[in-house]
Structures are given as C-alpha cells and as structure tokens.
C-alpha cells in the first residue's frame, strides 16, 4: 500500500529527509497559493485551516472525529476479519484440491469483479443501514479477493519443498502443516494487506450512501454543507488511519515471518 518512495536505495536518513522536504514544499506551496488568493479558500482551504478544523473536530465534548474513526475502523476490521476467517481456509482448500478449485472457481469469477458499491442496494434491502449492513459490504467487497490471493499463495508453494518433506517421511497432513501453511503464509499476508486497503474503500462508500456515523458519513455531510475544510479533514483522517493500520500490519508480519527479516538474526 505504501509501496511508493520509501527511498531505500538512498539510505534511510537521506530518504527520510528528502521525503520530508517534498512534503514541506507541497504543503508550503498549497498554503501560499491560498494565502495569496491564487486559490479561493472556499474551494480549497489552506492546510493550516484544515489542521485547525481537525483539532476542533477531535476535541471538545463530542469529539466527533474520534467517534467517526472508531466507527469506520470497527466496521473495516470486523468485515475484514470475517472475510479472512472464511476466505483463508477456503482459499487454502482451493489451492490444495483441484476438485474444490474447479467447483468454486466459476462462482468466485462471478463475484470478484463486482465492486463493493454494487452490493449496497441489496444489502440495504436485506439489512437496512445497521452495522451488519456495513460488515456485509466490507465482507462482500473483500471476500473474493482474499480467496484469490490465498489460493494463489497456496499454489505458489515451492513443489521441491513438498517433495523434500515427503522424502523425509512426511504424511500428506504433515506436508500441509509443516510446508503448505508456512510456505503460503508470506503471500497470504501480503494479499491480506492489499485486501485491507480494499476494505477501506468499501466502508467509505457504504458510509457515504447510508450511515449516520463514520468518516465516509462525515465527508458526505460536509459536502452537503459545502464545508470543504471538513471534507479534507475526513480525507486526511482516512489516510492517517490506513497508514497506521499498515504499520501495525507490517509489525505483525515481522513477528510472523522472522525468517524474512533480511539477514538480521
């Protein structure tokens, strides 16, 4: 998700400094453009205004921003965990059994191209605008991807490793436990990382269409009031939350895949 420009080839510190400079120039230029009147503050408020608005929304007795972030994050994580809980085991099964793969393949192919948005009408008719409806949207939007990534990860386990384990006396079950699962894990995790980002787009769409809380709802209501400041606060909050979750996910990955820490013992 944050695949762009971590500047690894420049060395950590130089990369960070150059990245920070880029950010400063971008925000500075924006601020300047608004202050000098080059851009109408009504259409695009200055970064300082957005920040003030953000602090305003995050403090006070209601602190709506925190509430929105909590609501959206809960919906994303619930839907995401549900689809991982169902999708990962099913994907493993598809990867290991040609029969299951052949049986479920066509169904997955039909569901997968459907954008999460297209599930909104049905889910609202079935579930109203409850929390369950949000979970369902996230689930439907991410489930097929989890399935595809997991199946693919399982199929890509090195056949020589399976042969080596069998040669050392592993039964079919032992091959699954000791080779297939750990062998597929890295690709499953990087698949889940992509799906987590997809899950966010699902929840924001769902909240824009029918909700009374969450970041998507906050952005949409702000638009109704032509409150561009609040729209930008909502967007910025999405970025920050997703970035934080990504960092969390990477930490988890490092814990689960100690052999991939690249030469550091």
């Amino acid at each position: 998700m944050t695949g762009l420009g971590n500047g690894a080839e420049l060395g950590l510190w130089r990369g960070l400094v150059i990245g920070a400079l880029g950010l400063v120039v971008f925000i500075g230029g924006w601020e300047l453009a608004v202050r000098t009147g080059l851009v109408d503050a009504f259409f695009l408020p200055a970064p300082s205004t957005v920040l003030a608005r953000m602090l305003d929304l995050a403090s006070g007795p209601d602190a709506v921003l925190w509430h929105d972030i909590r609501m959206s994050a809960t919906r994303v994580l619930t839907g995401f965990l549900l689809s991982a809980l169902v999708g990962v085991p099913l994907g493993l099964l598809m990867g290991m059994s040609p029969v299951v793969r052949a049986a479920l393949g066509p169904i997955v192919s039909i569901i997968r191209p459907l954008p999460a948005l297209s599930w909104i009408p049905l889910s609202m008719l079935w579930l109203g605008i409850d929390e369950q409806q949000k979970y369902a949207i996230v689930f439907m939007g991410s489930f097929a991807s989890v399935l595809v990534y997991t199946t693919d990860a399982t199929l890509r386990v090195d056949q020589t490793l399976i042969a080596a384990a069998r040669n050392l006396g592993a039964s079919r079950l032992q091959v699954i436990r000791f080779v297939m699962l750990p062998g597929a894990l890295p690709n499953i995790l990087s698949g889940l990382k992509v799906v987590l980002a997809i899950a966010w787009t699902c929840v924001i769409s769902a909240e824009m269409v029918g909700a009374n809380s969450g970041l998507g709802f906050r952005i949409w209501t702000a638009k109704e009031w032509s409150d561009t400041g609040q729209v930008l606060v909502g967007m910025l909050s999405i970025s920050i939350t997703v970035l934080l979750l990504d960092i969390l996910f990477r930490g988890m990955e490092q814990l689960l895949l100690p052999w991939q820490r690249g030469g550091v013992r």
Partner: protein
C-alpha cells in the same frame, strides 16, 4: 567398497521403463534400465541432459512409478515415496522458515522423536558437516555451499539407507564445489552410506565414484559401466594423473557419441 556378486544389492533396477504421456505423444524416458548398487558403494551416473538420469532418481525416491519393471530397495519393490532413500536436491530445498537446527531435526520430528532427542541428533549432524555455530541461522542467511551442507546433514539425520544426489553441486561455484565433493567423500567414508549420484560433470563423477555409469541418450538405459580404479583418497592432484585423463577422455567420447547421436536423430525427425 568393491563390487562382489554374493552381496545383496541395496538398490536393484530391473528392466526399468518409464514413459510419459505428452502432447506430442508418448515419451520414453527410460527403457529397460538394469543397474545394481552394492552396500557402501558410490555410484555416479553421467549422461547428456534429457537422458533420463533424473527420472531414474525420481523412481528410486518413489516420486515416480515405473511403467514397466521395478526398483528394489534391499530386496523389496519400492512403492510410494521412500524415506529410506534420502534425496539431496540441486536447489537445496531447505525450509526457509525453519532454522538450520529445525531443518535438520525435521526428519526425526516426523518420526515422533522428543524435542530434546531430535535437537541432540540435529546438533550432531550439523557438527559433522562443520556448521556448528549456525544452528539458529535461517537458510536465507547462508551461502549456497553452506545451504547444501545443511541439506546433507538433514538427509543424514533421517538415517537413510541410500543418499540420492540430483546434481547437488551444479549450482555452486567451482571452488565450493570441490570443497563439498571432498566433504561428501569424508562423510560417506565415515558413515558407510550408499550413494547414487547424478551429474553431468565427468570430473566430479571420477572424483566421487566407485563405479561410473554412462547412460545412453533418450530413451535412457545403461550404456557402459566403468569400475573407477583411481586411488583413494582422491585429493585435487588425482585430477592431474594420466589415469584420470585417460578415463575422462574415454567417458567423454562415449557421452559425446550419445549427444551427437540424439541430435542427428532429432534432425532426421
């Protein structure tokens, strides 16, 4: 290590034929291959690529079933994957998520050895290949030569009857390859393991083998068997002796004959 008629062979291939169904028709990889390997013997098989030597090894390991004929392991026909034939792969095939110790302890673990026992055994075999101190490293942190040492000790820890080596040193640089050849000779001499070793390098086969089998081009069968009379131990200098060069030239002529023969056969098609 000499071949005597009255000893029961560890491995005996009898009239072994393996065919594959391909889109272009039936491909005969091996046809009527006969070969016996005695206990403690090191047999190297050389042959042009595509002559079916890897196919033969896969049948002995039990990964492939013969179309016709059979392979006997200590008198019993091999059916299914055979853990008593420990395989060393060209690509090392170590489990990247396991430390060196866990890789080597994997065979005993599958057999249900207690954690303490299997670690003890693993430590022993890691020491035999000279990797003590690297028990807790992951394979990705080791050089190719070190990884192949781990693979060797992993196979040995499983106490196989036979070591099957499928061009295990082909991916290594020349220096490392020679070091590992000597290492393998030492370990084999110490443990008395029977070895079936596949290579396309005639030098390597001459340094390692008690007997050297030249295979014909596809369909593969035994063309000639040389009793390798080069004196042991075979250090580097043996490669400079007249006998070594004489053997090498003779084998090279045979292999070349097969390569050229199969090429003209292809052209005629």
């Amino acid at each position: 290590m000499s071949v005597s008629e009255d000893v029961e062979p560890v491995i005996a291939a009898r009239d072994l034929t393996v065919t594959f169904a391909t889109r272009a028709g039936t491909l005969t990889a091996l046809e009527g291959l006969d070969l016996e390997v005695s206990p403690g013997e090191v047999v190297c098989i050389v042959g042009a690529s595509g002559c079916g030597k890897s196919t033969f090894l896969n049948v002995v390991a039990g990964f492939l079933a013969p179309t016709h004929g059979e392979v006997l392991l200590t008198g019993q026909s091999i059916r299914g994957v055979e853990p008593r034939c420990g395989m060393i792969f060209q690509s090392y095939a170590l489990f990247p998520w396991m430390t060196v110790l866990d890789n080597v302890a994997f065979g005993p673990r599958l057999k249900g050895a207690s954690r303490r026992l299997r670690r003890e055994q693993a430590r022993h075999w890691i020491e035999v290949v000279g990797l003590d101190g690297f028990e807790h490293a992951y394979p990705g942190e080791l050089s190719g030569g070190m990884q192949q040492r781990v693979a060797l000790s992993r196979a040995l820890a499983n106490d196989p009857e036979v070591l099957l080596c499928d061009e295990p040193f082909a991916a290594l640089d020349a220096m490392t390859r020679q070091v590992l050849q000597q290492e393998l000779l030492r370990v084999v001499a110490d443990t008395g393991k029977t070895v079936l070793f596949i290579t396309h390098a005639i030098d390597e086969a001459l340094i390692l083998s008690d007997r050297l089998v030249v295979m014909s081009a596809r369909p593969g069968r035994v063309k000639t068997i040389y009793a390798n009379d080069l004196p042991r131990p075979r250090g580097m200098d043996v490669q400079l002796t007249d006998r070594f060069l004489e053997l090498k030239r003779g084998i090279w002529d045979l292999v070349q004959e097969e390569v050229v023969g199969s090429m003209t056969a292809l052209q005629r098609r």
